[in-house]
Amino acid sequence: MKVQIDSALCQGHGRCYDLAPDLFGDDDEGFGQVLGDGSVPPAKEQEARLAAANCPERAVRLTDDSTTRES
């Protein structure tokens, strides 16, 4: 699993870096940033799902090997 942020949608609510601080951080203006290359270790998959499911702007996306899905 990988995480992505659609920066055209992100408004800096910060739910992703609140809920999954190992996967997301913030920039100098509070917009969400994917840490590293966005790869999600298996132990962090639940955090990644929570971050995507709680983003008010639906800017966090999860992808796996074959499909891209928006949650």
């Binding site: 408004q11 800096g12 609510h13 910060g14 870096y17 609140d18 913030d26 100098d28 203006e29 509070g30 929570l50 499911a53 709680n54 983003c55 008010p56 702007e57 639906r58």
Partner: protein, 423 residues
């Protein structure tokens, strides 16, 4: 070095070329039918708006009123979100639904940028503020906020009944924003008047309303002059020195933004803290669970923000349009109810219940789109610390008398009187 003389002359002095806004008749009194005559300023709405919103969502999801010169009230999440995202058809030139519409020439800046601003100016004015309000930046206020919360509780000193709205919740955001703006902490009581005048004085006679707003701007100008004489590390000095497009900000921009930060920073968070304590005071199961599982508080807090979202915004329709079946006219108000959106069963399971371990909670308490509350990280820090300290110090509390709880009327809703029996 040149002297900064932007504030030497009062920028509010009327000029002949200044356009006027429009006023309409003030209509108050009981609402006949909420679908055709709604008013968020009536006591029934202040006391409990949720049944009204639930009913409207079922039978008339975009309600109308002739009050305030005409306006609309969407109650479905999808409609509230769509309007928040649609800056092409809906302007933020005014964001408090009242009986006065500021002149069109005020757009795209508005009276209190960036909340009153439209694209493209909005983006640049907002960018100036964002760095001061990131999660990292506001975390620097946390230790002082925690110490202040403890000092408020220390002052309860043996009383059996305390007013959690008046003696606790309101003081926390007042102190935090005063510190950030560099205003004297003892000025708090004046801030409360400014807040009430701006947000709850909407149906006062125009002359009275103007006189009250003048007092706020007089206060802010005095603070600007004090900061010009003695610059310091705070948001006021920052705004005085800030530049946009290679020039320092217009004086009306500096003072308008200070007004925004002061007003929007206070009663919103005050309301969120108060509403959360109101819920916990009458829900012992949630209270004891949070004391047993403090790590659940951030999740519970999001649920309090969803269920008791304090903030409703407003927009003005730009041009005549038929929008989702509603025949909207230019300059009609939109009352953009994030609280109603947050209780839409189409968006949330068990929308009318408070579920403190709700894991998926895509609520809109801080707005959606480009106007996302710039202070949301600050508000969350204050709410979390205020609840942590309260639950640690006062694990047992209940409503002293439910009939004594009073809620504010208008676009910011929260308890203004909340007598609690403690201990």
């Amino acid at each position: 070095m040149t002297v900064d003389d932007r504030f030497a002359r009062d920028f509010r002095e009327p000029r002949d070329d200044q356009p006027l806004g429009t006023r309409n008749e003030i209509i108050t009194g009981p609402v006949a039918d909420w679908a055709t005559d709604f008013s968020h300023l009536e006591p029934e709405w202040a006391a409990d708006p949720y049944p009204i919103q639930d009913d409207l969502r079922q039978r008339c999801p975009i309600a109308h009123t002739d009050r305030f010169g005409g306006g609309w009230l969407p109650t479905r999440y999808e409609d509230v979100a769509a309007i928040a995202y649609d800056t092409e058809h809906f302007s933020s030139r005014a964001i408090i639904m009242s009986n006065f519409r500021p002149p069109h020439e005020l757009a795209p800046i508005g009276g209190s940028p960036p909340i009153s601003s439209d694209p493209p100016f909005h983006h640049d004015a907002r960018k100036l503020l964002l760095p001061a309000f990131t999660k990292t930046a506001v975390s620097k206020q946390e230790a002082a906020t925690r110490a202040f919360c403890h000092s408020l509780i220390n002052a309860f000193d043996g009383q059996d009944i305390v007013d959690a709205a008046r003696d606790y919740a309101q003081h926390i955001p007042m102190r935090v924003i005063a510190d950030m703006l560099g205003f004297p902490p003892e000025d708090g009581p004046q801030f409360r008047q400014f807040v009430e005048n701006t947000l709850e004085g909407v149906n006062l006679p125009p002359d009275e309303r103007i006189a009250r707003m003048t007092a706020l701007f007089d206060y802010l100008l005095a603070q600007v002059h004090d900061h010009l004489d003695r610059p310091r590390e705070d948001l006021t000095t920052y705004l005085i020195n800030a530049e946009l497009y290679g020039q320092k900000l217009q004086p009306s921009h500096v003072v308008g933004t200070m007004a925004l930060l002061l007003i929007a920073g206070i009663d919103t968070t005050w309301s969120a803290i108060g509403a959360s304590l109101w819920h916990l005071a009458q829900t012992p199961a949630d209270r004891s669970r949070l004391i047993a599982e403090p790590a659940l508080l951030p999740t519970a807090m999001e649920e309090f923000l969803r269920a008791f979202a304090p903030v409703t915004m407003a927009r003005l329709v730009k041009d005549d349009t038929t929008w989702h079946g509603a025949d909207m006219k230019a300059d009609d108000w939109i009352l953009l109810s994030f609280p109603a959106a947050n209780r839409d069963p189409a968006q949330f399971d068990r929308a009318g219940e408070v579920v403190i371990d709700r894991e998926v909670n895509r609520h809109a308490a801080f707005g959606l789109g480009i106007h996302r509350c710039v202070g949301s990280h600050l508000a969350r820090m204050e709410l979390r610390v205020a609840l942590e300290v309260w639950l640690e110090r006062i694990p047992e509390f209940s409503l002293a008398d439910p009939a004594d709880v009073e809620w504010s009327a208008g676009q910011i809703r929260g308890p203004r009187a909340l007598p609690l029996r403690i201990g």
